[in-house]
């Protein structure tokens, strides 16, 4: 049985600093993992992916999801539409489960149920979540080659809080960020607050 722990206080403070930085894109602080030109991801089918291998890639999007968070699951159709909209514009997508207890088999079933159209990764030790300073699902991290996290936050503002949902979103934050990245522009709102389920961090690193 895994014993799960709250984040250590120093880690939390760093995270807070990341969250309150709004003036322009923050410099890569915890992102050495993403800065590695040979950064390699292995999906649940055993396939390896090297996002930076292709020089036309403008950003890798890590979408932190979970099999049983209703807010995260609600967004799959929206994410699919975004994938279609930005097809051919140098955006490469990955779905990341940051759940230490999740099996490949359950993740595979979830991917089939929700028709996920990108590689699915298991981040059981939270290496990706910590590097991206992700805390919740759903949360999207848009990473530029070189490792800068150009955007971290919600997909849009449909959810205002737990159980509080708009009929339709008024801000399409992830879409705006991707449009900026695809156009070679800085992201105007690089950090937003996500509403969703917390990633179960453990203290072991």
């Amino acid at each position: 049985m895994t014993r799960l722990k709250r984040l250590a206080l120093p880690g939390l403070l760093l995270m807070m600093l990341g969250v309150v930085t709004t003036g322009g894109e923050p410099s890569p602080r915890l992102t050495s993992l993403f800065a590695d030109p040979a950064w390699t991801l292995v999906d649940i089918e055993g396939q390896s992916h090297r996002p930076w291998e292709d020089s036309t890639v403008k950003a890798a999007v890590l979408v932190f999801i979970s099999t049983d968070c209703p807010i995260a699951n609600y967004y799959h159709p929206t994410l699919r539409k975004l994938q279609e909209e930005f097809a051919g514009q140098g955006i490469t997508w990955y779905f990341v489960h940051a759940d230490p207890g999740l099996t490949e088999e359950r993740a595979r079933k979830h991917a089939a149920d929700y028709s996920l159209k990108a590689p699915v990764l298991l981040d059981r030790e939270h290496r990706l979540a910590r590097a991206a300073t992700a805390t919740k699902t759903p949360q999207a991290a848009v990473i530029r080659p070189g490792g800068a996290v150009a955007y971290l936050g919600r997909i849009d503002d449909t959810y205002v809080g737990y159980g509080k949902k708009r009929a339709r979103p008024t801000r399409l934050d992830l879409r705006d960020a991707l449009a900026a990245v695809a156009a070679g522009q800085p992201v105007t709102t690089p950090r937003t607050e996500s509403v969703g389920c917390f990633i179960p961090f453990s203290r072991q690193r």
Binding site: M1, T2, R3, L4, K5, R6, L9, L12, M15, M16, V19, D68, C69, P70, N73, Y74, Y75, H76, P77, T78, D99, P100, G101, D113, Y114, S115, V160, G161, Y162, G163, K164, K165, R166, A167, R168, T170, C197, F198, P200
Partner: protein, 601 residues
Amino acid sequence: MRHTVSLLVPMAVSAGMALLTGRAQAASVVTYAEHIAPIVHTKCSGCHHPGQAGPFSLLNYEDVSKRALTIEAVLQQDYMPPWPPADGDARFAHDRRLSAEQKFQFLAWIAAECPEGDLSKAPDPPEFPDGWMLGTPDLVASMQDAYQVPADGPDIYRNFVIPLDLAEDKWIKAIELRPRARSVVHHALYFVVNSDAARERDAADPEVGFRGMGVPIRERIGGYVPGTIPQRLPEDLAYPLPAHTDLVLQTHFHPLGKREEEQLTIGLYFADRPPEQELLSIQVPPNFGRGAGIDIPAGESRYVVTDEYTLPVDVTGYLISGHAHYICSEMRMVARLPDGTEKRLLGIDDWDLGWQGEYLFDEPVRLPAGTSLHTTLIYDNSEDNPENPFSPPRRVRWGEQSTDEMGSMTLLAVTDDAASNATIKRSYRVKSLETARNVVERGEGRERIREEIQKRFGTLDGALFSRLDSNGDGALERSEVPEKSRSKAFQWFDHDDDGRISRDEIEAILGRRPPAEPTGDPVAETGDDARLRSEVIRQLRESDGALFKQLDKNRDGHLIRSEIPERFRGKIFDRFDVDGDGHVSPQEWEAVQSAAKQERD
């Protein structure tokens, strides 16, 4: 900042716990096995187990500790366990909230990083019978076909008929709903509707179920929201379920990212015999707020609607509920007793149409004759209300679509004897009529008809009239109106039932002036309205109570057009069919009649 708060609160809580328990190391004392498991099992697991509404299970240490931070957030925001009623003067059965001490313990346990304790001593998770919660129902019925719930898009409201084919009257003690895809069914309200009307309405919509209500509701008999534990009505109380009625389930779906197929099944538990006293539904304002002045200007952040009804006899209240749509923000019902004391019966400070429960009083509430039931409804139609379905905000009026508004609170109560029952029914009819009259006086009914016409015919301007009037005699005959709109057109416009629609008749319905902007004041009565009303009243004086029964040839309890003598037809439907559904229900009939009597006296 939020992180800081979320850290500090549990710390303070731990300190509080230390004081509470008198131990030096409180945080290490709170363990899953000893303290948390019993809370989880009694307050969370009911919905959070496989097959239930909760999106994940909360049954054991791993389930709970893994979601500790999410649990902390939802506890601090009072989002879970879900319980909309604010503290008032009445206590409710099945209160799902954690006690202050339980909440302290839970937060302290999370702050202490979820100590397990001796898991071998933890209580076993509760067993949930995979069958019906109250044993085998007396009647199990399902939707005839499955409805496809799409993967995404806005929430869906749809009504489904559960055919019952009942040959005799029954009395319902309890109802359990079993959805096939429970996670997408957010809530369902149960209505009793005449089988003919329900099935006809269903057949008129090509897809499974139908939108909007548009059928006369005979009874509202509670509903399902996540967390509802099926319960038998107390004592000998039961809801009537007359022969030849069906259940109509008004269902709210949350699309959840993948397609689902829903075919609702319902289990009914019947009483052995009819109850001694009828469970009366005292709705304030009546008719879900139609005529209560729900006409909310765009941008208005605090629009208040109040109504009251004074009980003519002693009653005992058993259940209470409220109903409204998206932009309602608060509602409360207060009982003002003749001795001047007040009882806050139900208050909801942050109305959410997704959690509209029916609350059973822990102890029945005794209310003496002369008590005023006072309802306050507050609406936020501003841009700042995230639940506003319109951006930018639009004027919102009473209506049956979920983007229209409604608003009322209902006390379910019984009287002491049959005579009091008759007295309160008479008095409530008058109340109901007074409200219904506002519909006419404020022009609310006319406006809705005008909108329907625009939907159906486009604008009904002079050009359209001239085009239809092919023989150019200044009136439309049946043959001049397109067949698909013929019966509606004549129902709406042909006031004098002479088989012709004159320009004047159209003007009478549409009003000569463009719709006035809402001022909060009733629209002044036009000469036409006054003449029509006095004519209806004159005809009523010539009729008596037995007339309704005599007219109701198919004995379905409602009057349809063909049952009404031609010379009454147009005016009767104008003035009696208060909810505009094309049927005159006994309630509508009696309401108008007793008003006429009042006016005469």
